[in-house]
Subunit: 238 residues, 2 copies
Amino acid sequence: QIFNASQEVLAKVSANATRQQKLNNYWQGRKLLITAGPTHEAIDPVRFIGNRSSGKMGFAIAEAAAKAGAQVTLIAGPVSLKSSPDIERVDVRSAEQMFAAVKEHYQQQDCFIGAAAVADYRVKEAANEKIKKQDGVDELTLELVKNPDIIQWVAAQKDKPFVVGFAAETNNLIGYAKDKLARKNLDMICANLVGESLGFEAQDNQLTFITNNKVEENPLSDKQDQALALLAFIAGNN
Amino acid sequence: QIFNASQEVLAKVSANATRQQKLNNYWQGRKLLITAGPTHEAIDPVRFIGNRSSGKMGFAIAEAAAKAGAQVTLIAGPVSLKSSPDIERVDVRSAEQMFAAVKEHYQQQDCFIGAAAVADYRVKEAANEKIKKQDGVDELTLELVKNPDIIQWVAAQKDKPFVVGFAAETNNLIGYAKDKLARKNLDMICANLVGESLGFEAQDNQLTFITNNKVEENPLSDKQDQALALLAFIAGNN
């Protein structure tokens, strides 16, 4: 039994080493631009519209790619996560700031992964001072306007890198994801069911990798493992 | 010179010990209920309206009070901060959940500190599924309704504890704070200028303590030190 257990451990160590070697073969020296985290759209200096993205999935991909030898530029929304010193990091808050940073960095990249949960809408006119609650005013209307679609913009550039998007959905996951892949002209999309214990704010995740001619469902695991599977899938499809 | 330096160190150690002893004399065995952090008001399962409160000020007060021997109940909005095991912690997300937790715990407390940045408004009808961005729809209107005023409710109870509020403002700080103290019938308010490097999301803070007959401005320092000064001020005014 001890012999079997150690055989298993050895087999796992060997499988991990093989996987890492394969990742290194592809990613070594390649350039990856990745966005991660939420964006915060200001209502006033203290209030904002946000979303539940923790940034963990995007940061896990950035770290795994850097470990495999890629030159990683990480454009991060407001999160409290740390990143390795060998990752070039640009911190932003709003979708418009994230778009500006992507425009500045997208050229000469081999791959762009849009893992950030970019707000679809921002407040039409954010207030410069904190909005005071007014007595007697029980209702308030917030007017929103559409934000630029960052990943669609990248995918529309002539000199575009390999573009990977995410679709985080609470229902009709694969349907919405395939629609997004086609509509935005992405090279690949990672479909990501979000709910109570999955995706946003969770440690574990289950991504389905979709290209024009493939659908590959990855088993549930932690975000570090999903990141390795994602990078391996890109390597196998390029 | 070495002698002077060690004299200074000794004086500081001695001053800190005296301050801690004074805090213990008042807070030992007293019951403190404190709210901290932001609230998140759901727009749909992934989007919300939030604010920039990090929860650090409220958590610092809770920890300092527990260290001084108080029985602390901490009602925390969505933050990634840890708290000591001797603090009874209730985690909530929305203003309505925070209100329910306060109603459940406010009785038989000696002091209530409302350090949370409770959202003034919530979304009138939050969606059960993620709202899809629609092509051609460039504007969106979000209808908000007023949230319950938690601290005003506590201050209006017959069996109310000593009630301490916060006023985080970007302008006209003391004016707004005094108005809030009177309007909500609080026993004390901590006025808190928020801006780029102060208050929300910052390590340092500068509170001004205001009661009906006192205004005491505390010098700028870290939130741990502000917490001690706040607890000392309460001790000196009860």
